[in-house]
Point group: D2
Chain length 134, copies 4
């Protein structure tokens, strides 16, 4: 179990009331939980700004599965030596389009480069790279 | 097959040269392909700004699988009547943490609301909602 | 003076140490100050998601001041009845390009619409709308 | 005058019709103008990803002008030797709060560092760094 520390934070009464309203709407059980998430997001953001950091990424893309050889190219990329593809999920959206999520592990700059390559393939319509610091 | 139209676009020579460099670095095969992607991204962004639009979302989250009943809560949410959960992907990151991708279909505002609920659950450390207009 | 309240927050020792490092790098004087900023940013983000909210915006644009009548059109827009233009700042970047910051007050959806109009004017090269909840 | 080149782009009829609708709503006069803007935004984004690039930034911040010595600190920072502050704009929002826009020139990483320093000062409530590639 991780050791827990308790710290005191001072806020304007008014700001605190607004914060309590927000976290109730979001569904948080406690202020500590909500603030821990804010802190983690800030830390994660700072870490990912360093392009040499190791990270995990979920690359989300929509593509037309009729596009020639796209499926093979995507599989090929996932097996490139620079990155470690962990898993992928494939969902049929309609007659033409598929949504695919590829989970990769690697350095931030390499992930971004592969992300750009995927998004530029013929047949890929939309895509986004979700970096998660580890 | 979709009917294709050819349009003429005028650009400064210098801007065109820079664009050619960019799409070569990104790996595009043709200018048409690159511009089609830019156009699609713009359209998708506009559509998603309307919170009543139907969309597909890939919700990416990292959580500690030791957190009490989180897994059940996540499954419960995916079966809520507001949204249609299509599929999910689960990856073990280390001893504690899992990355999960949940693909949902629904109205933009409902997806965002469920996204917030998931991110506020005890044990969920990081998360992001990727909306894709359909 | 606003009334100040003190609340207790529990965090893992490790997370707290990382947070202390982050806020030292950012230059914060105290944890309370850093957390207050995180809380305010969250609140502001939620408020601006409601397009009917009143907000202030700083619209940042780069344009070629040789473009025909652009300056007049920009001034015209600032005097439109929908929005209240408060002030603007003009900086010469080089022989051709100017950077202009226009501070507006109005409803979020109206600000966004005017922002789009400005960015689509002939001669405007780049632009961004910075919404600030008030 | 910059030399203009005309290129041909092929798009699906349906995508083109949607694009025409979008740019009409945005207020563009021609497809060329709209596509030029998309291309410039892409180029600018790529350039700013390189933290060694020279850029211009508009730092937008909201602060309480009663905060001790904040105004002096802000002026001090603008005169730091790392960056070249070009101009600033100050707007009174209400009894307490001011909106200030500071236009800076410098390297992307230095701008970001100063941006973080400003945002962490006691009394600064919200802020954003708008980088513009030059």
């Amino acid at each position: 179990m991780a050791e827990v520390e308790r710290i005191g934070i001072s806020l304007d009464k008014d700001l605190l009331a607004q914060f309590d309203g927000l976290i109730a709407r979001q569904g948080y059980q406690s202020r500590s939980e909500a603030i821990r998430d804010l802190v983690r997001q800030q830390l994660s953001q700072e870490r990912l700004a360093d392009t040499q950091t190791e990270a995990v990424a979920a690359v989300v893309l929509v593509y037309d599965h009729h596009a020639t050889k796209l499926t093979e190219k995507l599989v090929g990329l996932q097996h490139s030596h620079l990155l470690h593809a962990i898993a992928s999920l494939h969902v049929h959206l309609d007659e033409h389009d598929c949504l695919e999520v590829i989970v990769l592990r690697g350095r931030v700059d390499e992930i971004n480069r592969v992300g750009e390559r995927i998004l530029s393939m013929k047949g890929v319509k939309l895509g986004r790279v979700n970096l998660v610091a580890t």
